[in-house]
Amino acid sequence: MENIIIAENVEFSYPADPESGEEAALILKDVSMTIKKGEFVAVLGHNGSGKSTIAKHFNAILTPNKGKVYSNGIDTSDESKLFDIRQHIGMVFQNPDNQIVATIVEEDVAFALENMGVPQKEMRERVDDALRSVNMYEYKDHSPSQLSGGQKQRVAIAGIIAMRPDCIVMDEPTAMLDPNGRKEVMKTIKKLNKDFGITIVLITHYMDEAALADRIIVMDSGNIVTEGVPKDIFSQVEKMKSLGLDVPQVTELMYMLGKDGLPSDTHIINVDECVDALMKLLDR
C-alpha cells in the first residue's frame, strides 16, 4: 500500500521568545512515522507529548526545523504547493465553534470550495454529497448556533470532506462533546474510513476511540514510544500506565483479574470479547 504521509526524523520547536526570555523547548525530538493510504491510525499521548504538533506538520501548518515531512508525496516545506497539500490532507480541530466560518450550514461546507475556486454547479453537488455523508443534509439551511456540539462537529467534518481529501487529520475532535455527540462523530469517522476509503489520523485521549483504529502510535515527550495494533498496545497495561495513559476499561478489568491469579487475556479491548471471556471464566 502507498504511503500518504511520511515523516522522517522530524525535530520541531517553537521559536524562542526574546521578551519573556523563555527558551525554545524541543517539542518534537526525533519523530519518524508513515501512514498508509486508507489506514485508520490513532495517535495517543498525554498533554505535551507533541501529538498535536506532529499532526500540524501533516498539512504544512508547521514545518519541521530538521527532517522532512512528505504529504501525498509533496515535501511540506515547498510553499508553492501549500494549497495542494491542504486540499488533500484536511484537518478537523477540537472546538467545532471555532471552525465554522459561515452563518448557514451549507455555506460553511462550501467555504473551502469557494476558496479553491470550484465552479458553482460542481460546488452544489459536492456540498450536498458532503452533508449527506455526515448525515447532516436535512440541516443544510440551519444556522450553526441552532445545532448541538456533535452536529456542529459533523458540519465541520463535512466542510473538510467537501474538498474530497485523501486523508483527514483529526485533533481531538470529540474532546468537547457530550457522550452522544462523541458517538455520532466516531460513527461518522468510521464510516468515512470504511465506506469512502479516506485515511484517518485520529489524535485522541479516549482509549475506547483509539481501540477502533487499525494502528495506534503512542507518543511521549516528543518521541514515539511504541506503535502497533490496538490489542498489542493495550495489552501492555503497565507500560501505558507509566506513560500517563489509560487502557480501555475492559482491558483494565482483565488485567486486574490476571493480577489476582485468574487466567485472563489482556488482548481484550472491547465489551463483547470481555463478556465472552468472563462467561468462560464463570463456566469453569
Partner: protein, 267 residues
Amino acid sequence: MLKDITIGQYFPGNSAVHRLDPRFKIIITAVFIVSLFCADNFLGLIISCVFMLISFLISKIPLKLMMKSIKPIVPIIIFTTVLNLFFLDGVTLFKLGFLKITYEGVRTSIFMIIRIIALIMGSSLLTYTTSPITLTDAIERLMSPLAKIHLPVHELAMMMTIALRFIPTLIEETDKIMSAQKARGADMESGNLMQRAKALTPILIPLFVSAFRRAEELALAMECRCYHGGEGRTRLKELRSTAADYTALGLSFVFLDAVILMNIIFG
C-alpha cells in the same frame, strides 16, 4: 436572558419583496431616500411615500412590527417638531407669551414628521425583508468595483460575516462567564454607575481572552481550508438578477421622476 437578542431584524417570508435581489433592494432603497429628500412639496412627498407603502403592503410585514421600528425615533420626531413649530419665522397663527406658532412652522413640522417616518419605514423594509447574511453579500458585490482602488472589500465582507457568525457564540459565552463570576460572589447589580462599570471588568477580560483564542483557532481552521483572501474565489450562491428586479428598479426611478416633476410644476 442575553439569548433573546436578535441580530438584525429579518422577518422571514416569501413575498415578492423578499425575493428581490438584495443588491437591487439596496439601490431601490437609496433611490427612495433620494426621492424623499428631493420632494419639496406635499404632493411629491406623498408620491414617494406611496411607492414605499405599496412595497410595504406587498412584503406582508405586520404593521405592528413596523411600529416597533418607529418607536425608538419618537423622541427625535418630537424634538424636531418642537424646534420647527416654535422657532420658524413666518405668518403667525397663534401666540402664547413668547411662544408663537407660524403657518410655516406647522407646514415644515408635518413635512418633517412624514419624511422621518417614511425614511425609517423604508430602510426598515430593507432589513426586514433581507437576512443579514444576504445583505452582507450584496454589499460586497455592490462595492466590488472599489476593490480596484485597493479598498479591501472582500476582507470587510468577511469580517462582517464572521462577526455575524460569532455574535451568538460570544453572547452565550458572556452568559457563562457572568454566571461563573456571580458564583464567585461578583456583584454586578448594585452600586452607582462607576461601580457597576468596574464590576464589568471580570467579565470583559475573560471574554476578550477567549475571543482572541477563538480568532486564532478560526484563522488556523480557515487556513486548513485553503483560505487565501478574495482572489479567485467562487460562490455557492451567486446573486442572479431577474426581470422582476429590473422592473422594481425601473419603478423606483419612475417615482423619483414623478417627485422631481412635482417639484418643477409646483416649485
